[in-house]
Amino acid sequence: MRRRLSYRPALGGLVFVIGVLVLVLAVVWRPSNLLIWAVGTGVGMIVVSGLASGAMMMALRVRRLVPRDARLGQPLMLRYEVRNASWFWPAFAVSIRESALGASQGWLVSLGPGEQSMVERAWWPARRGEVQLTDVIAQSSFPFGLVGKRVTWRQRATITVLPRVVRVPAPRLRALLDRGPAGQRAASRPGHGEEFFGVRDAPELTSLRDVAWRRSASREQLAVIERASPSYPRLRLVLNLSEPTASLAGRVPVGVDARQREEDAITMAASLASSAVALGHEVSLRVHGLPCAAMPAAGGVRHLDRLLVQLAKLDLDAPRTTAMVSGPGDERSATVVIHPGRIDPSVGGPAAVHQSAAQLQGLASRHGGAS
């Protein structure tokens, strides 16, 4: 963590210094001891400004707490641990901001000598993707705004801005999932489902219904049927970004931004994935047209996070490929293919449900339609 101190002259400070010089001229023109005292007070204010501001800023220690991922459209609270290492000087009116994140700032009104506090600042990400944080800047013009002092700490970090997520109503999602060969299937582990998993020894009989009579007879030892664990429905998301943005621009209606359409497609994928995971579904992801590893189907929040990070990292400026991404086929899953522009039925197989990014608003509403 490297620290750098810099000064920023302020117009108010220049005016004040000129005012003191004018006072000096006034004293020369019309000698008055009390006017000299006034000059001395002005000089004292400059000294206080230098002492207070300089000592205060030199004693500040600011450490950024590693932020979690941000989400597009939602504020991210960045937290900083601020410590005043001075034994004597308190710190006042210090703004703390990031060099990479624009004008938003955290505000520290006061921090006593030796004290430590937590400063928060809100940041509204403007776009999806990775944001590199480099410098944390503490700045203050205390006490009179004469000279701005700025201390910069080099603290590198990366924030991944996840794509925007809109809530897809459960009936709408079920309507999508019910199409195609999705449905119940047996998991490859014993459980309490209906499917047969195997037989096992039964040291103690629990239920006559579970007895595998034939196997028991052949072995002359009691065996019981073991049932498979039920598995949640699977959703296979296919994001078709194989068409370059420039090409897409000619196909979208006039006044619609092609890049925004692609972003909407990503948003739709993220929204479907989030809503499906919330309903307990397993979701897999394939992205056509961009170098992105296919994600196998899984459920849970961690998987969703990984999936959203994958979507967040999609670089729409990268060259597109037309080759279809090959992945493990899974016939027993609903497939939703999301297209930024016109729907291409050749992607995703015959049972796939195709969604256009233009349908994002309809998807989020309860009465939206699907093609």
């Binding site: 001891n33 000299i36 007070t41 206080v48 308190p90 928060e120 809100a122």
Partner: protein, 744 residues
């Protein structure tokens, strides 16, 4: 903080109003400011809308500009001050945001600067100094408030449309008020130190002439000007006290008011309508000699008879003038001071331009000095000038008219021709004319007044002519100017003298109290070869009546206030290049004084070293030295061990543990160390009783002793039991038993 800003604003208003003698405005503004504190800053604040406040202020500024335009001259600094004061009071009622507080502070700063231009009184100076020291603290507070408001506004502006709002929450430490108080105190100290350093070190000139007159207080001035029609000083400030000690050494009241001379003017300038000082002073410089009187002339004056002493204690007026009754013959002044004695005018003053150097002095005077004494004091006979004339032609007819009416009847007065031929006749004529004209002025035809505002004066008319012909009223300077002018127009050697007249005698203290309102002007007429006689055309009864009229209960407290004012004037208002030089000398002498004990210490160390070298030389000395060294080393080792022992117990019991608790803790730690030596090592995660259990495998007896010590310690450390002597001794016994047990 708002209260502090209000206090600072009130101090600014006070400093300006007192410096400008605007006590009516002071009263109104302070009451309004206090009212604003109640209304605008109370529990349920009722503030004036900003637009209303700004409209009123804009109207006031416009009115001032228009009136200045009509008058044809820019507004004076006082008008600017009044405008700022009024605007400040209005803004006090309309304090909504930090910007309003900053406006209040800016207006207060302007008021302080205006006050600094004119303030000479401590009553104005103290609020100015205190206000200027509080100003940085208030400015910093408003800066914090304003920047926090700005940060909040910027935060609100950054929230994207349709996004979730996030509250702006500024962070503060655990004790923000304590931090702020610390900063405020440090800020005041630093500002005061810087301001003092600048004040002491700022390059200055000596205070004289115009500069001096600005620093004056107490009514006395080195100018007698009739051009202004302002009301003259009628303050009751004590300027000085004068003990008048008769020839027998007893303080008495003189048989007539004491005319304490401070300045002499012999020429009238009709252009500036003021009197001018003599152009050829003949100064002698006399150095003060402490307790002894230093005569102004070496010999020739009989100091045995009719010598009075005036003991002057300055109170409210710091000046380098030495006030004295005519004719001073010697002075008792502090050693190191130097007095300038003008033989032509018999005036005394400080030889340096240092104001307030003579705060206490005694002058021996001969109020009834003979012509011979005066000649000696003057350094010999002074050839009289040609027949004096007065530059304003209109005065002579008026003087002749009065002379005709008031000239002595029944005796002949020498005419001008005879006066020119024969000096004695000249002096006789001078006396006769001056006496007659003085009588004319005292006759009642002329009225004394301090307020000249009602006097109508025609354009181009000289004020002396106006006084003698039409208005016939004025204050002492008019009476003195008229008398002197008439005398000079009739060929009489006359001059105007300014100073103080001592009228108020305090019988209990046996001293005269001279007040600011006792500043006076009179006339001296030459009545001998070197003799000058005092003529005072101002009606004395009027002066005494005026004095009695102005007495108030506050006079009883002036003894307390006026010395403070004097000290303020002497050390602050009139601090000049001489004072700076003195300060440098004093610092040099202080450094010398500080260096002296250092030098003495060094010499003492050298002497001791020499003595030690003599004592410890040879074999016996070496043995002594080695013994002392060993004792010293042993002491250091013991002290270090004690320190280590004490520090060992601190982590367990803290610094506030009693001696017995420390002793018990030492036993406990020692026991664990013995157990360690016996092979029962305390590893991570092991309690002391675990150690005892492990030790029990080797030696049950040793484990029992260890357990005993540990349990004693536990009882005190965690059980809340007192560390009694029995417990300590039991632990000590167990420890020694543990040490005595042999393990395989």
């Amino acid at each position: 903080m708002q209260a502090m800003i209000l206090v600072t604003a009130m101090l600014s208003l006070s400093a300006f109003c007192i410096a400008d003698d605007s006590f009516v405005f002071l009263s109104f503004s302070l009451v309004a400011a206090a009212l604003s504190g109640v209304l605008a800053q109370g529990v349920r604040p009722r503030r004036m809308p900003t637009i209303v406040a700004h409209s009123i202020i804009a109207s006031l500024v416009a009115a001032a500009v228009v009136s200045a335009f009509i008058a044809g001259r820019p507004p004076g600094i006082e008008q600017v001050g009044f405008l700022c004061g009024t605007a400040l009071v209005i803004k006090l009622f309309a304090r909504h945001r930090a910007a309003d507080e900053r406006h209040v502070l800016a207006l207060g700063s302007i008021l302080l600067l205006v006050a600094a231009l004119d303030a000479t009184d401590v009553l104005a100076g103290l609020p100015l100094v205190i206000g200027s020291l509080l100003m940085p603290v208030c400015a910093a507070a408003t800066w914090v408030q304003a920047s926090t408001e700005r940060a909040g506004a910027a935060h609100a502006a950054l929230v994207p449309a349709g996004s979730l709002p996030v509250a702006f929450e500024p962070t503060t430490g655990a004790a923000p008020m304590r931090s702020w108080t610390g900063f405020a105190v440090a800020s005041v100290i630093v500002t005061a130190v810087c301001a003092s350093l600048v004040f002491l070190g700022f390059p200055r000139q000596g205070l004289d002439g115009e500069s001096w007159s600005r620093t004056r207080t107490g009514g006395f001035s080195l100018r007698v000007s009739l051009a202004s029609d302002e009301r003259i000083e009628d303050s009751r400030t004590e300027v000085m006290t004068v003990r008048w000690i008769g020839p027998d050494g007893v303080a008495i009241e003189h048989n007539e008011p004491l005319h304490l001379r401070g300045a002499v003017f012999d020429r009238y300038d009709p252009i500036s309508q003021s009197w001018q000082v003599p152009q050829q002073p003949r100064r002698e410089y006399i150095d003060g000699a402490g307790e002894a009187f230093v005569p102004f002339v070496e010999s020739g004056i009989d100091a045995r008879f009719q010598v009075y002493r005036q003991v002057v204690q300055m109170r409210g007026l710091a000046t380098n003038q030495v006030f004295s009754v005519l004719a001073p013959i010697s002075i008792q002044a502090a050693e190191g001071t130097s007095v300038a004695f003008d033989q032509a005018t018999m005036l005394l003053s400080g030889a340096s331009s240092r104001i307030g150097e003579f705060d206490r002095y005694t002058v021996a005077v001969k109020p009834y000095a003979s012509d011979r004494d005066m000649t000696v004091l003057s350094g010999g006979f002074i050839e009289p000038e040609a027949v004096p004339t007065f530059p304003v032609a209109g005065v002579r007819p008026l003087a002749l008219d009065l002379w005709e009416r008031w000239k002595p009847r029944g005796r002949t007065v020498p005419d001008v021709d005879e006066a020119l031929r024969r000096p004695a006749a000249r002096w006789e004529r001078n006396r006769a004319v001056a006496t007659a004209l003085e009588s004319a002025l005292l006759s009642g035809e002329f009225r004394y007044t301090t307020d000249l505002g009602s006097i109508v004066r025609r354009r181009g008319e000289d004020p002396i002519v106006n006084f003698l012909s039409s208005s016939r009223q004025g204050h002492c300077q008019y009476f003195a100017s008229a008398l002197c002018a008439m005398c000079q127009s009739m060929g009489v050697d006359a001059r105007v003298v300014a100073g103080f007249i001592a009228l108020e005698y305090d019988a209990a203290q046996s001293q005269y109290i001279v007040r600011s309102s006792n500043a006076h002007a009179w006339v001296e007429v030459r009545t001998g070869d070197a003799q000058w006689t005092t003529f005072d055309g101002t009606p004395p009864m009027t002066l005494e009546a005026l004095q009695a009229e102005q007495r108030s209960w506050a006079d009883g407290l002036r003894w307390l206030w006026d010395p403070l004012n004097f000290a303020w004037t002497r050390h602050v208002v009139s601090f000049d290049v001489q004072a700076q030089a003195e300060l440098v000398d004093r610092m040099a002498s202080t450094r010398e004084a500080l260096a002296r004990p250092v030098r003495a210490t060094r010499e003492a160390v050298d002497a001791i070293r020499q003595r030690l070298a003599e004592t410890f030389s040879g074999l016996v000395g070496g043995l002594w030295l080695a013994s002392i060294g060993m004792v010293l080393a042993a002491s250091i080792v013991v002290a270090a061990l004690l320190r280590v022992r004490r520090r060992r117990t601190e982590p367990l019991l803290g610094p506030d543990a009693s001696p017995r608790e420390r002793e018990l803790t030492r036993h406990y730690l020692d026991a664990l160390r013995v157990a360690h030596r016996r092979g029962a090592m305390r590893r991570a995660g092991m309690t002391p009783l675990d150690v005892a259990a492990e030790l029990a495998q080797r030696s049950p007896d040793a484990a029992a002793h260890l357990r005993s010590v540990v349990e004693s310690f536990y009882a005190v450390r965690f059980g809340g039991q007192p560390a009694t002597a029995e417990r300590c001794s039991a632990a000590a016994r167990a420890l020694s038993a543990l040490q005595g047990v042999r393990t395989p």
